[in-house]
């Protein structure tokens, strides 16, 4: 089924376990360094209200002055288990995309906030890179390096997560 921005609580609560979801809108990448930073009180450089976080450290290179996504599959989510639930509640995150599943803290937060965990196919970096139609920005690049930065990906017609 199609999940289009804005990602509202209502849309998220309507999803059922096992649904195949296609996403259209902006997702923010964020993985180990970003989660630790936010958990320790770092200021988010983007508005995380109703946002979807993608556990992804992409390969992005600059070609002719613009960012080109070369590969963008999911990373293992369970490493963010200590942080994900609290961040979901604090910022009102609506979704997390990753792989390998998460734990009971995140599950409880999803239930409370009205958010979903979406499981992408690990290693499918090309299929998923094809869904990225534009790179709308990058944050915390200096601090954390390219794979750990927050990339703003506009995605459309994504293969189901």
């Amino acid at each position: 089924m199609l999940l289009e921005a804005p990602f509202t609580e209502e849309k998220m609560r309507a999803l059922k376990v096992g649904d195949l979801v296609e996403i259209t809108g902006v997702v923010f990448t964020g993985r180990d360094a970003v989660h630790k930073y936010l958990h320790e009180g770092g200021k988010p450089p983007v508005d995380l209200r109703d946002a979807i976080i993608y556990h992804c450290g992409p390969v992005v290179v600059k070609e002719g002055g613009r960012w080109v996504v070369k590969a963008a599959g999911p990373t293992t989510s369970i490493r963010e288990e200590p942080f994900q639930g609290p961040l979901m509640e604090q910022y009102g995150l609506r979704g997390v995309i990753g792989k390998g599943g998460m734990g009971p803290k995140t599950l409880a937060a999803c239930q409370k906030v009205g958010a979903c965990y979406l499981h992408a196919i690990g290693g499918a970096a090309q299929v998923l890179a094809e869904c990225v139609t534009a790179v709308e920005g990058v944050h915390l690049m200096e601090e954390f390096g390219s794979p750990e930065a927050i990339w703003e990906f506009r995605v459309a017609n994504s293969r189901p997560w």
């Binding site: 590969a71 792989k99 196919i121 970096a125 750990e148």
Partner: protein, 295 residues
């Protein structure tokens, strides 16, 4: 061959390894896909995996964004020194990172700073062996962090697993590792197992054995039998691709052994994801790629 040419050949080895799965791995993926029932999540996952393999090769872009630990195994003839090979390989790695065949994947463990070009203490990893052959043989493996994190090392006896110091004990360790990995290592995976050695050499050998062709048969009939048995048993666990459930939990099991000291009995398990990126070539002194090893 001058340094520039060696660098260019090594860049091609990196590109091919990152973007194109070798035929033996593709055959195993196709076999897994055929085995899964239509309409299941396992079949769906295999469908995405197969599309991804085609896309990556067609676009010459990384199969997986985690281009992993760069591990190069080199049989080195007289005409190139370790120093010269390392210099050429490092320049090739730097270039491959700039053009996007490799992700910026080398992070200072103390400061957290990313070196930006995959170079730094311990990166890339090169294992040299001397050879009397005329051609240089280089094998490259790109091993992602997700699968590396689910590797495991056991010290036998392990009372929790009921694993003693024999092949039955080894079997219990290997199945425990598969069960603990679940979908986190991007299955269906391939296991490299080393029985014996010390903690360091055991893990190294467990990775080296992943350089074998996927569809070969172990020269040691005892290990060949254990490989077949573990593959069959792991595939009855129902973990399936990405842990979605299904009949294909592993694509292969490769086992090797090293002598041990009487006091130690280690079982080292390296898990390789389905994006089993390893390739290799034979390179003549004149710089001609004489053979791709897995074609």
């Amino acid at each position: 061959m001058d340094a520039k040419m060696l660098q260019a050949r090594l860049l091609e080895l990196i590109r091919r390894t990152s973007c194109e799965l070798p035929p033996d791995v593709i055959r195993a993926v196709d076999k897994g896909w055929r085995r899964e029932k239509p309409g299941t999540n396992a079949k769906y996952a295999f469908g995405v995996i197969r599309d991804n393999i085609k896309l990556a090769a067609g676009k010459s872009q990384p199969l997986c964004q985690d281009t992993g630990t760069i591990i190069c195994d080199v049989a080195r003839p007289d005409w190139v020194s370790e120093r010269a090979f390392r210099a050429a390989f490092e320049r090739a790695v730097d270039e491959a990172t700039r053009v996007g065949y490799l992700r910026q994947n080398s992070v200072d463990s103390i400061t957290g700073r990313n070196s930006g070009n995959n170079l730094g203490p311990g990166s890339p990893v090169i294992h040299f062996h001397e050879t009397t052959a005329k051609a240089l043989t280089a094998r490259l493996m790109l091993k992602g962090g997700g699968c590396e994190n689910v590797g495991a090392q056991y010290s036998l006896p392990d009372t929790g697993l009921g694993a003693g110091r024999d092949l039955e004990g080894v079997r219990r360790c290997v199945l425990d590792a598969v069960n603990k990995a679940q979908g986190k290592g991007c299955g269906p995976g391939v296991l490299g197992v080393c029985i014996g050695g010390d903690r360091a050499t055991g893990y190294v050998a467990s990775k080296e054995t992943l350089l074998r062709p996927l569809d070969d048969t172990n020269e040691d009939p005892v290990l060949a039998k254990l490989e077949r048995r573990l593959l069959d048993e792991a595939n009855t666990l129902g973990i399936g691709p990405m842990g979605f459930g299904g009949a294909t939990t592993l694509l292969g099991v490769k086992i090797t052994a090293r002598n041990r000291v009487p006091a130690s009995f280690f079982v080292s398990v390296s898990y390789m994801c389905w994006a089993y990126r390893r390739d290799g070539f034979q390179l003549s002194a004149a710089g001609r790629i004489a053979k791709w090893l897995y074609d």
